[in-house]
């Protein structure tokens, strides 16, 4: 079976350990869903802001991206 998720949210981290660390972090893990790969996981779309705030409090800063956001190297001032 194939599922097409529209307006979905997922998290991409640079390495697998970082993702495991995030999932284990109090307040952050409940917003993160199943992993799609060692470095990619679903995010509860209703709890994105709560996740970002929890990440900020835990000392992480997450970049918010959409399909329209250019890569860091491409964006202008």
């Amino acid at each position: 079976m194939i599922r097409l998720h529209k307006h979905a949210v997922f998290l991409v981290v640079s390495d697998g350990e970082a993702l495991a660390e995030l999932i284990a972090t109090q307040g952050v893990g409940s917003a993160i869903g199943p992993k799609l790969s060692p470095t990619v996981a679903w995010v509860d779309h209703r709890r994105v802001e709560a996740l970002r705030e929890a990440l900020r409090q835990a000392g992480y800063l997450a970049r918010s991206r959409t399909d329209e956001t250019p890569d860091a190297g491409e964006s202008g001032g």
């Binding site: 097409l4 307006h7 779309h45 202008g76």
Partner: protein, 882 residues
Amino acid sequence: MEGSAIRSRNSASDTRADVRPLAELLGEYTPAAVRDLAALLGVACGGTHRALCERVARAVLKTDRLRACLRSLGQVERDFLAFIGRLGGNVEPAQAAWWLSCHGTSSPLDTTRRLIAQALLFPFLVPPPPADPVTEATHSRHGPEHSPSAFPGALWCPESIWRLAGAGAPSTLPAQPEPPQADRGALPDLIRDLFVLARFLSAKQPRMTRTSGHLDQAGLSELAAALGRPQTARHARRLEDVPELLWLESVALQAGLVEVRDRRLTATASAGALAQRPPTEQCRVLLEAAIPQTGWGELEAEKELSVARPAALSPGDLDVPSPGARVRARRRIVEALSQAASPGAWHRIADLAEWLMESGPDLLVRRRLPDRAGATEAGEPIYRGILRCHAGGASQTIGMASGWRWVEGVFVAQFLRAALRRVGVVDMADDLFRVTDLGARVLAGAGKMEVAAEEAPPPGRFFVQPDFEIIADGGGDNLAAVARLSQVADLVSFDRAALLKLSRESVCRALDQGLSLTAVVDILSDSGRSSVPQNVAFSVGEWVASYERYQVWRDVWVVEADRADELDSLQEELPGCLERLGPTAARVLPQHRARLEHVLGQRPDVLTIDHAAGLRAVFGVDDQLVVTPDPSRWHWYPEHVLSQIADSFRAKRGGRRYRITRESILRALGSGWAADEIERFVEQCAVRPLSAAQVLSLRGWLGRYGSVALAPAVLLRFPNDARADLLAVPELREALLGAISPSLCVVRRDAVAKVRRLLEGAGFAVGDELAPDPVDGRRPASRSTEPAGRDHAWGQRRWRTGDPEETRQALLAEVLETGRPIAITYRSVITGEEPQEWVLIPERLEDTRWGLTRLHALCQERDERRTFDVSRIDSIVVLHEP
């Protein structure tokens, strides 16, 4: 100008038969004949023969004869014809009378007649409007001999005449010597004020008053303090009293820099961007905002003028300019500047006003003919509703001709001083003005001004310090740099110097807004013109790298398959459309969404889930709150949520189930889930609506309800027909706590004996089948932790007319807090002054805008909600504890 207005309204319906008698008349050209001709022309123009009218006029107006006629005219008459030419060849009688009065003509009517007799001016009829008894009465009352109004319709001066009389484009304004002191165009100050305003609004989001639609007093004081106007902050009560701030708010709203949302003023994204634009663009944006604004008026800002409504006039008869007239007038002033002023040269404001007057009289107010209700002693029409105030408090009417400078002239001067100087179009000095270079560049779009090229923006004046603080000059010309810096750093303070703080959060916010590392460094180094401390540059690089380490992708389309090979085959079918996220999931590239949807639409085994629309009907819930997933609609999200708010177990048949329990809900609430989120999720995802029992359990576990209490009660049951008689006895009424049906009342426990005595005394046979004890075979425990005798005390608590108001307020507040029922005696407006008794459960108090306090309550007897005016409550008795 080729052709007159009359020709432009040409009609093709003239005939040769009409031409003949007029041509014959021309051969006998005499003043009397011209008058007849005028009458004929009037008839012709009033009908459908305008082309004929013009043809005849051309024959009459031979150039040689015209020159001779014009030579015989005085300068005022020649100027009058030129004035008509500037209006396009047609002038209304009121305008003609006004112009001639303005230029010292003692009898405008005689002058007009003389010009008509010389065939230099032609009256023509305008088809009369539908009969209006009021107008007819006015005309007949004043007679036709006052002014050029004796000629109905309008006056026409052919182009060949007004050209010979010297009309054309009005000349440019005469230059004046440079004044010793001048107020320079204040665009940098205005940009700074708008920047501060935007920051203030972002931080405070002050309320607007309901009546005026402006900032309330508290907001005004804070704004004035933020803008560095301490005097205004201390003394201003209403924004309308501070024209400068009212203008600022109005321009900011008009330019889209701020907006009103939920009766709060908030800054928009454009507010920060404006400070970073080139001055010419800033000036153009603000000039365009200053022209159509309606929240501020030049005349209202002039202290020597007041707007008053004479009793005899309706608002529609006032000459107070409408918002549309003000906008048109401002545009004419701007156009006049571009046409008549020389960039860099000083001109008199009065000359500009006169230029505008000569190029068209109806700048703000449409000229009128005098009438008895609105004319000076000299017969000059007045500005109705606009008065000139004198120092002693007296005020006087203003004539439209003699008082042009007091109304239209004042408008021109105020617009120059208050608007055009602030947006940087002009410099001002007493009664002089000068179009600035910046203004000339902006006005070049409106007229034919020669402009100098714009200078390159000066470098920003700021220093990035090793402790991540940035100190910048707060001057207006450095504002663009401060605004740029505030994109990547937090503005800590802003005065003569601006202090900004660079942090990881501020840099990440800039990156969220689409800036790159290069752009951030560019801003900090002012495009390489200044150096950034090494540690700061290193940290910024680190922050950007860390920011890239965690990326939350939102609003994306993801295809997920049960098996990797399914996704592989789809990717082969749609090459270049998918970006793999993992073995069984891939992101859909936005440009290929439609293609993918089309391909998937042809397959039977596809489930589409729109997370933004919310999930619907993905599981069933039984009476025990056990959740059974619907396999055809099941996916990771409901499973993820249920794993957190319910206990999962494997059923003997049918696979995994989830049971929502009190413990699982408490666990979810403890891990950060909000009660609302859980309740909404369960209600939306359930296939069928939850039963009342399920809702009760779920809400109870979520802590929706407060504590409840059970207590035995003494009930009094009586026949329906005895109700009114029983409740009429005060002693009995006081012993009852409230009705639970038309024939059942709750009796105060300490008054049972008294009630029994009263009823038996009245001949009732009192039975004991509704006695309170025991409940469930047990004696009732103590009902509350409150001290004994509390019931009695509450039963006696009352408020009656004449008692202090505070007692009533305190009693109502206490009752609302505790939820106790009350009995009130109420004088309703509808039922007259006859008081009625109501037993109520109060719900809330509401203060209305008219100063009334209303009590919203549930009337148990009638099972309906009612609203009571608290001031009409004669007595309140608190009945019992819940």
